[in-house]
Symmetry: C2
Subunit: 153 residues, 2 copies
DNA sequence: CTGAATGCAAATTGTTTGCATGTTC
DNA sequence: GAACATGCAAACAATTTGCATTCAG
């Protein structure tokens, strides 16, 4: 299960893949960079970007098609849809396949040859709901918030 | 139908809105800038960005939640989903509402409070299909391609 | 040994911001 | 005339690229 497409197995490539598969979040390139740097302090961000692209091209990981300006990557290749927290911007997997069968109709309607689709859900994650609740009920034992809302540009 | 939220009606604001409503494409800020500059050659790109944000905040236009790094704007406010051409990157409207009712279930499953969703389709637009066909059947009377695939970063 | 991959820095692209000036209400 | 908008340039953030060096096969 190594390289199907003449990809050399460099240490950095390997570790990027490992780290990405380790998490269930859907990290951006910079987040991957941060994770990987714990094991390879001298790796360059450019290498991370290049490898994420190449691994995705080779079908070993998945470059996600999500809203927002940062690209996100997924260690698994199976199609599944995502839910994004509108407060903290985290992205989680959605277990069930929620894709409407009706979709095919459009093909006719617009002359488009339909090749795929992508459903993304938005909401508030459990963590942020909890935080909001605490805030509402009085900031008594305020637990030091975990998430830093990454401003999407 | 002017300002509900203390927005001053400046010439640039007005023209941005007009131009945006004129088209059915879903232009990026820079595309809007180009359109508007035909009528207001001295307008600055920053003004376009600021106004698009403000008009969207005021609910007069819609900032689209689409994949890709460029933000896109829509002169209409009604929710509807989109189909994007994988070759030339144009975005068209999809007439029917294709949203699965099943969606609600997830709420329970992941602890998320569901607030919205967004379905995007991908395919090849009629124009690009035509181009591909010409190319395949021999580049005899090659009609000088119209679209420049904007590389999404 | 040789092409592919890395690190580093500089370049691009899309978008935002500070500030002095100009314009609506 | 005061608050808000504009234009311009500079600042940012995310990503890409050029190039000399290193490394996997």
């Amino acid at each position: 299960m190594t390289s199907s497409k003449g990809l050399k197995l460099t240490r950095q490539r390997q570790i990027i893949l490992e780290e990405l598969r380790k998490v269930r979040t859907h990290p951006t390139a910079i987040e991957v960079y941060t994770m990987v740097r714990r094991r390879l302090p001298r790796i360059s961000l450019a290498t991370v970007y290049r490898n994420l692209e190449e691994l995705a091209a080779a079908g070993l990981i998945q470059k996600l098609t999500l809203a927002g300006s940062r690209k996100r990557f997924d260690g698994t290749v199976e199609e599944h849809c995502h839910i994004r927290c509108l407060k903290c911007d985290r992205v989680d997997d959605v277990a069930q396949v929620l894709v409407p069968p009706i979709v095919e109709d459009v093909e006719t309607l617009h002359g488009y040859q339909l090749l795929g689709h992508h459903l993304e859900l938005f909401g508030i994650c459990p963590r942020c709901q909890e935080k909001a609740r605490e805030r509402r009920e009085g900031p008594s034992h305020s637990q030091a918030g975990r998430e830093a809302k990454q401003k999407e540009r």
